[in-house]
Amino acid sequence: MVEVRLFAGLRKGRQKVYQMESASVKTVKDIMDALDIEVKEVNILLINGFHQKPETEVKDGDVVSLFPAVGGG
């Protein structure tokens, strides 16, 4: 399983945490597609605490964290 943690505004209409079958998602982008999250919405993407990109592959046991960009002042 891959654990997916969503933060702040990405939780709107979604759960905080998802458990996904690793066989059904190859990359972080696949996870984002499954959750209807656009790449442009995310400015911090971590796998097991390390910065990665949407095209990075995921494996069983990974924890993926997605944070939305904030930019107002």
């Binding site: 939305p68 904030v70 930019g71």
Partner: protein
């Protein structure tokens, strides 16, 4: 010194004196900037330069502390300068009643010990961050959306702003609640104060605070 007696011992008498020698720029005098200049003036920073080319509008009233119904149409930068002088006449004030651009950024941050990001635009943040790198000035990042904010200390050479805002990123949530800028500004000023005083900070650590779920994440870059 009576003015600052409640600063002590949270900061020392010597540190209070040190602050009087410091020059800080606040770029943007809206949601974040209004609170940042208030806190800097009260804590006793020696010189504050403010910059904003905008005027107050009705939609600012939900969160911008410098904006009351009597201030609609007034310059944000001039209002900020007036507020600093009424809070603390001992503070020297510099005022740029114009938007920060590639052309004027050097003049605005010239001689500053740190710069506060109180902007609401990604491209302007990148202009400011590049100028701070060029002039070796620490940049205190802050950004808000809805219930959430990010804040960080960006030291020259970190490239943090470019990392946080790659080309593909867009801000989809433009909402801001009244308490979000005040919380973010306070956090930024606490970080900036530590940089000014030479206290320990974690540079390039982004503090991501979600006030809806009362959660804080620390993300190192």
């Amino acid at each position: 010194m009576e003015r600052y007696e409640r600063n002590i011992p949270a900061i020392s008498t010597e540190e209070c004196e040190k602050l009087k020698t410091k020059h800080v720029a606040v770029i943007g005098c809206g949601g974040l900037g209004g609170y940042i200049i208030e806190l800097l003036a009260r804590i006793g920073v020696g010189k504050i330069t403010v910059c904003d080319g905008d005027v107050f509008g009705v939609s600012n009233l939900n969160r911008q502390i410098l904006c009351t119904e009597d201030d609609l149409g007034k310059s944000k930068a001039l209002q900020a300068a007036d507020r600093i002088m009424s809070v603390n006449s001992g503070v020297e004030v510099g005022c740029f009643d114009e938007f920060m651009t590639n052309e004027n950024v050097s003049e605005i941050i010239s001689g500053c010990d740190i710069v506060f990001d109180a902007l609401d635009d990604i491209s302007a943040r990148k202009i400011l961050a590049k100028a701070c790198e060029r002039y070796n000035v620490p940049y205190i990042y802050g950004a808000i959306s809805g219930w959430a904010f990010q804040a960080a200390v960006c030291l020259p050479g970190s490239g943090l702003i470019e990392k946080l805002f790659p080309e593909h990123v867009e801000i989809t949530d433009k909402s801001v609640l009244a308490f979000t800028p005040s919380m973010c500004a306070s956090f930024q000023v606490s970080l900036g104060l530590k940089v000014l005083l030479g206290r320990e900070v974690e540079p390039s650590r982004v503090y991501y605070v979600d006030l809806l779920f009362s959660e804080t994440e620390c993300i190192d870059f």
